[in-house]
């Protein structure tokens, strides 16, 4: 079986005096109370995740939840106190400096929250920078950089300096730069948190568009559940260094594993997250359907039709009727009302 492109095995990161004493067999062996009594902060505590190739994986949490530390560990920027990070099945810890540099030069790209553009280089220079570091010839790296700049829609601004651009444009440069080496694994560390809400939306669309074109494996960090729900295949919700739950946005909304996840997802835009399959009821016997909806369709896509009809709609998968959805059931789910016997 192929390795997942990136995996974390029982990873912990402790800050404080002599954190090694709380490890046993390379694993965190202490309760949060013991740690805090010893003045140790567990930024990441015993986290295991696997990210298969091609997935968009979102790590979500509020500030201080450890999500930034986790992504820094996954990217190999910070060594974990315990546990291992496996890139294509190879433990980052066992790789030599040269191997690590080679992986980063060819297979990883990262977009930063505050863009991290080099102020002394033009847009072209910034995008070409990762290639320059590799010592590629100027003509080649400029051609590649121009291609990337065109990809993010900044043609004609190649010779601008970062400070001549708006925040959204600067992050487009950051995105172009992170894609210049054609990475397999693409880290986006809160890429849009520093942007205005409207621009943020536009940039999310941009990421979705690029992902549709390029099919990277994405590790995306955010503190915004709506953003996570828009772009994620799976979401990991973190709190106090611990992953509370991993699942699709729909699973998190419908079956929160902890009260924290429930609180987090309570106000999520359900119509855009839940699919017909998740909210359907068993088809009534001898039903008279008003129409059909696909099992994978989001509620927002068919709400208008269901709402206008007295009769239920059939939920169809592979040409079979899987269940039914009617006005009442739909509204119950949308407002988050508990339903006896409902599908969940």
């Amino acid at each position: 079986m192929a390795h997942p492109i990136l995996a974390a095995r029982e990873v912990s990161k402790l800050y404080g005096p002599k954190p090694e004493r709380f490890l046993r067999d390379g694993r965190l062996a202490a309760t949060p109370a013991e740690l805090s009594a010893a003045g140790i902060i567990a930024a990441v505590a015993d986290v295991s995740i696997e990210i298969p190739r091609g997935e968009t994986f979102v790590i979500m949490g509020l500030s201080g939840s450890g999500k930034s530390t986790l992504v820094r560990i996954l990217a190999g920027l910070t060594p974990p106190t315990a546990g291992a990070v496996l890139f294509e099945g190879r433990d980052l810890k066992t790789l030599s400096e040269a191997e690590l540099i080679a992986i980063r030069r060819r297979q990883m790209g990262m977009v930063f929250q505050h863009f991290a553009l080099l102020p002394h280089l033009t847009v072209l220079g910034n995008v070409a920078f990762p290639l320059d570091v590799q010592g590629r010839p100027k003509a080649e790296r400029d051609a590649r950089a121009r291609e990337m700049i065109a990809l993010v829609g900044l043609e004609g601004r190649e010779d601008r300096f970062p400070r001549e651009l708006s925040g959204g444009q600067q992050q487009r440069v950051g995105i172009a730069r992170s894609l210049a080496v054609g990475p397999d694994l693409w880290f986006l560390d809160e890429p849009f948190s520093a942007l205005d809400p409207l621009i943020r939306r536009e940039m999310q669309d941009e990421v979705l568009r690029l992902q549709g074109l390029l099919k990277k494996t994405i590790v995306f960090i955010t503190h915004d559940f709506d953003e996570a729900a828009r772009i994620a295949d799976r979401i990991a919700i973190m709190k106090d260094g611990v992953v509370e739950q991993i699942g699709s946005a729909e699973e998190l909304v419908l079956a929160p594993a902890t009260p924290y996840v429930r609180a987090f997802t309570r106000d999520a835009p359900r119509a855009k997250i839940l699919t017909a399959k998740a909210v359907m009821t068993a088809p009534p016997a001898g039903a008279d359907f008003a129409g059909e909806v696909a099992a994978t369709a989001r509620i927002a896509a068919f709400a208008h039709d269901v709402e206008r009809s007295e009769k239920p709609f059939a939920v169809i998968e592979d040409g079979r009727v899987l269940g039914a959805i009617d006005r009442i059931a739909m509204i119950d789910v949308l407002v988050g009302r508990e339903r006896p016997g409902g599908a969940a």
Partner: protein, 662 residues
């Protein structure tokens, strides 16, 4: 309500307020000790017994003699080593001088004045546009027209070389400090010391190690000018956002690539501030360096000072200022250009390239012409101007007309301020002063600070230079008090008034770039030698930071607080005294700190006008080539500076914490 108010005040009085009674008690005791009759205290408290003084000065002198005469590093002697270093450093200096001033082997003439003028204007235009070009033209023309060209070129050569060495050395050392924290801890105190110690004090060892001449001056200049570059580098590199570092790792940069492709370029604007400082400090020590054979404008000023020729001194001094301004603006323009948007209009771009090429060609052509006809190389004598006689006449006229008034002013200040303070300080027993300093350290910054400043004060006492040290404290103390009394109100007044601020800034910038010797000349002519003259010179030189930091501190007070004050019905005066001043206090204290440092660095120069303090000690040790004595006196000055610095910084820190600003 009234109960609630009453109970805490009762509690406050119930316990004796040790902290509040401490300082009044101490002050009373100090006054009592100072007024005590001559025989009341044991003799050893007034004068440190000779038996207690370690013969530090003699041992240092002997060590230097041993080092130069006998020490050997197996293959070669120390003397060979220092001579080799001197020879290596001589090369770039000689090259710069050959290019600018002397010519190469009598075959190739130095760059003629017109060529350099053209180059300067073209360079100014390329770096900073038309405005800088005009400034360059005006400055260089001043040098030519007022006959300062030849000296100015020698100075320029040594300033360029020492700035280059200082900036490059400072950058490398700073980068190393960022890389190895332990190195930073080791280098920090040395930086402090080399900046607070008077330059004279390490001129001496340079002279002995490297011989009398431009190279010793160069090394001394570099040592003096490098510390700010190291500091700026450390700060600038640390201030590069963490994300940029992470980017370096993620793009797979090697360590060298991270440093030279990312950190240094993105910190460049901040680094240029350091380069600027290096240039300014190099120019500052030009005169002092000229005492050990650097020549150039510094020598001209010094010679004029010895002749009491105010006009010539002023013109040469102004030439130094002109050089300083040109170099400063040029460096600033270069720094600003690195981050600015480039010219994108192709027509203007072409025109600019053409203008630059034409200027270069003209400069080269003129150089060739000068090689053929040497008479063209120098600015014609007939076209020279000088204002020197007028300045001399002016001072003479003031002296004749206002002699009585000036003399009365001087005597009044001397009798009412200077002499009483001096007598008071000299009458204090030295163990008491050390105890006071240590106590202040403990109260302001805890036991470690108290121990440190106490130990430093003890060193000063045991060096046997106590009376000279107290004279230094008195002269600096009075100067700083006066500078603060004048400077802080000016700063406060200028803070909210941009036009006034611009005027004030111009004046203090000029005062700071004008070499300190220069305004010593008119003061000496008006008041003759003595403490009063030294006082005025120190105040003039040291007032700038008092003004600048006060203005800066007040400008930084959040506008919301001022609005809150206004809405609570504060009058303007109340806003100043209740909101602006308290919040600006930490900044004002830091300004005082700088004022103390500048005052100390002026000391040695005022030794020329006959003060009897540590500056005089250093200066006369230089005259006698007595390394040990000069170094010990220099260390004493440095230690007084460090004591003042640490105490004031701790005070500022405490105020800041109390105000919740830290």
């Amino acid at each position: 309500m009234s109960y609630a108010e009453a109970s805490p005040s009762v509690a406050k009085w119930a316990r004796p307020p040790v902290g509040r009674l401490l300082w009044p008690t101490v002050i009373l005791a100090t006054v009592a000790l100072a007024l005590a009759p001559a025989g009341a205290l044991p003799a050893w408290t007034m004068k440190v017994p000779a038996a207690w003084q370690p013969p530090l000065a003699r041992e240092i002198s002997e060590f230097m003699r041993w080092l130069m005469d006998r020490a050997s590093l197996s293959l070669f002697s120390v003397r060979d080593l220092t001579r080799a270093i001197a020879w290596t450093l001589e090369l770039p200096l000689a090259a710069a001088k050959a290019l600018l001033a002397a010519g190469i082997g009598g075959v190739v003439p130095p760059i003629p004045w017109l060529s350099l003028l053209l180059l300067g204007v073209a360079g100014g235009y390329a770096a900073g546009g038309a405005r800088l070009a005009v400034l360059m033209a005006a400055g260089l023309l001043y040098l030519a027209v007022f006959g300062q060209w030849a000296s100015a070129m020698i100075t320029l050569a040594s300033v360029l070389v020492s700035s280059l060495l200082g900036a490059a050395g400072g950058l490398l050392l700073g980068l190393a400090c960022v890389r190895w924290r332990s190195l930073e801890r080791a280098v920090g105190p040395i930086l402090d010391l080399s900046q607070t110690m008077p330059v004279f004090a390490y001129l001496l060892p340079m002279l002995i190690l490297f011989g009398f001449g431009p190279v010793s001056a160069l090394i001394a200049t570099v040592i003096y000018a490098m510390p700010p570059m190291v500091r700026v580098t450390i700060l600038a590199i640390r201030a590069v956002p963490e994300e940029i570092r992470a980017l370096g790792v993620m793009t797979g940069c090697t360590r060298a690539q991270t440093t030279w492709k990312m950190l240094v370029p993105s910190a460049l604007p901040a680094l240029m501030v350091g380069v600027n400082q290096v240039i300014m400090l190099s120019l500052n020590v030009v005169i002092i360096a000229s005492m050990i054979g650097a020549g150039g404008l510094g020598y001209d000023v010094l010679a004029a000072l010895r002749r009491l020729d105010i006009g010539a001194g002023l013109e040469a001094g102004l030439a130094i200022t002109v050089l300083a301004v040109l170099l400063d603006r040029f460096a600033q323009a270069l720094a600003a250009k690195t981050g600015a948007a480039p010219e994108r209009d192709p027509r203007r771009l072409r025109r600019r390239r053409f203008a630059l090429a034409a200027a270069l060609a003209a400069a080269a052509g003129f150089w060739l012409l000068a090689a053929a006809a040497p008479a063209l190389a120098t600015y014609p004598d007939d076209w020279r101007l000088s204002t020197a006689p007028y300045w001399g006449d002016l001072v003479r006229w003031i002296n004749v007309t206002f002699f009585g008034a000036l003399e009365a002013m001087k005597t009044a200040v001397l009798l009412n301020v200077l002499l009483p303070v001096k007598r008071f300080l000299l009458a204090l027993p030295w163990p008491w002063v050390i105890a006071l300093v240590a106590l202040a350290g403990v109260r302001l910054g805890g036991w470690r600070l108290g121990l440190l400043v106490g130990a430093l004060a003890l060193f000063v006492a045991l060096s046997g230079l106590w009376p000279a040290a107290m004279t230094t404290v008195y002269l600096c103390g009075v100067s700083v008090a006066i500078a603060a009394a004048i400077g802080v109100p000016i700063g406060l007044a200028a803070a909210g008034r941009p036009r006034l601020w611009r005027a004030v800034e111009t004046v203090i910038d000029t005062l700071q770039t004008l070499p300190s010797f220069v305004y010593l000349i008119p003061i000496v002519m008006l008041f003759r030698v003595g403490d009063f003259t030294a006082l005025i010179a120190i105040v003039l030189y040291a007032i700038a930071p008092a003004i600048r930091y006060a203005a800066h501190g007040v400008a930084r007070v959040p506008p919301a607080l001022i609005e809150a004050g206004a809405m609570s019905g504060c009058t303007r005066r109340q806003i100043t005294t209740r909101i602006r001043l308290p919040l600006a206090l930490p900044d004002i204290l830091l300004g005082l700190n700088q004022t103390v440092m500048l005052a100390l660095s002026m000391l040695v120069i005022t030794a020329l006008v006959g003060t009897r303090d540590l500056g005089q000690e250093v200066y006369s040790a230089l005259a006698q080539a007595n390394v040990g004595r000069g170094l010990v006196a220099g260390l004493c000055v440095a230690f007084i500076g460090i004591i003042a610095d640490r105490l004031i910084a701790a005070g500022a820190e405490r105020t800041k914490r109390r105000l919740g600003l830290a």
